[in-house]
Amino acid sequence: MFDSYRVNTLEYDPKLCNGCARCSTVCPHGVFTVNGIAEIINLEACMECGACQLNCPQRAIRVDSGVGCAAAMIWSALRGRKETSCSSCCCG
């Protein structure tokens, strides 16, 4: 109850991993650990920034990345835009 963040879109295929550990390097929330190959140890902490997906040379990680900003999403929805962008709101 009252927890919308328990699940997210992060997916990882261990069969493709080469153990380079880029994912655990770039993740600011310690989602991955690497012992030989990468392993997800804290899925709930993922904020879907997409750094791991972009920096995985094996394409073993998939995440529907984007900015988790309600102001930007509501604003885009009100203007009928599908793609969320923060050009008009808060971040700087």
């Binding site: 963040y5 600011p28 929330h29 310690g30 920034c49 988790g68 900003c69 971040c91 700087g92």
Partner: protein
């Protein structure tokens, strides 16, 4: 002897220092207040700090003054190059999210500044929070430079450069009470204009007296108290945290209503209390939900779920509170 290309390239390297002037500080204050957002820019390009040579490290940053100045300040006493990308005056993490602090811009900036002729090594040090926009292996393929991700915070940079190693603590993003408190002015600045519009409309419709105090309580709760108290408010969703905080913030107004109007009927008092409670908690919840974008940890799919779950509830509770306020004014 220096070759002609080396001389030409050295002219493109702009010297800077770790000195933060009063003009810089004033610019930081304005940026924190949200004044002329997007105008706090540094000219993109290659900078030198200290007396770097062809073995000195190259650190990559955004062309937002707060980002660039934090980096400069952290490098006092060091000899290094700073490669400033054109992120349109946006900080590293947000720019990485948009892709302006990204692979294409980095590769082009490396080529455009002639970095190949300035340093002998082929390593770029990026802030870790730039990683959502940069594909390290692609940068290597396209520019020949290897990307190393340095610490999250500039203040850990000198230790990282000296030790060549990084601790797990330096890799984690923090969002402590000080990090949250500095966001209050810019959040307040953002709702100032909509707030003035709403107050004007309410004045015209005549319900301003009923809703003014609840609106002030909600804004104080949503903009000031919410960021400060964030980790301690029960539940994980920002909307439910906001409803709870708003209900608590409504209590002083409710006590005042109950104590100051003993002569009127019980149903009037009940309606007044309910109206205040619904108005304050729904507005606070909405402002709290909007704080998700300022945090360092909310996922997009989670925020989307929050919007679908709670925005309708906020709208309904707000409307009931408003209708009650109008009815109390009429009868």
């Amino acid at each position: 002897m220096l070759s002609a290309t080396t001389v030409a390239v050295q002219k493109t390297v702009k010297p800077t220092s770790g000195l933060i002037t009063w003009a810089n500080r004033w610019d930081h204050i304005l940026a924190r207040l949200g004044v002329r957002r997007g105008n706090h820019r540094v000219e993109p390009g290659l900078y030198s700090i200290g007396h770097p040579d062809h073995d000195s490290p190259v650190l990559v940053s955004a062309n937002y003054t707060l980002s660039f100045d934090a980096l400069r300040f952290s490098l006092v006493g060091a000899d290094a190059y700073i490669l400033v990308l054109d992120t349109k005056g946006i900080n590293v993490w947000c720019a990485a999210g948009k892709g302006t602090f990204g692979t294409d811009e980095l590769v082009q900036r490396v080529k455009g500044t002639g970095l190949l002729n300035v340093v002998d090594h082929r390593t770029l040090i990026l802030p870790q929070l730039g990683a959502p926009g940069v594909s390290a292996h692609e940068v290597r393929e396209r520019s020949g430079f290897r990307v190393k991700y340095g610490p999250v915070r500039a203040q850990d940079l000198q230790e990282y450069l000296l030790q060549g190693r990084i601790t797990p603590e330096m890799r984690r993003v923090r969002f402590g009470v000080a990090d949250r408190a500095v966001l209050i002015p810019v959040e307040a600045a953002h709702i100032l204009v909509p707030l003035l519009v709403v107050v004007t409309v309410l004045k015209l419709t005549g319900v301003v007296n009923q809703i003014f105090n609840p609106a002030v309580a909600a804004v104080v709760a949503g903009i000031v108290l919410f960021p400060l108290l964030l980790p301690w408010i029960p539940t994980r969703d920002f909307s439910t945290k906001g409803f709870i905080l708003g209900a608590v913030a409504a209590l002083p107004l409710i006590f005042r209503d109950v104590l100051s109007i003993p002569q009127i009927t019980w149903w009037r008092v009940s309606a007044q209390v309910l109206s205040t409670l619904l108005l304050v908690s729904s507005i606070t919840a909405y402002l709290s939900l909007n704080f998700t974008g300022s945090t360092t940890f909310t996922s997009r799919s989670g925020v989307r779920r929050e919007i679908f779950r709670y925005v309708p509830v906020m709208a309904v509770t707000f409307m009931i509170g408003l209708v009650l306020a109008v009815l109390l004014r009429i009868f």
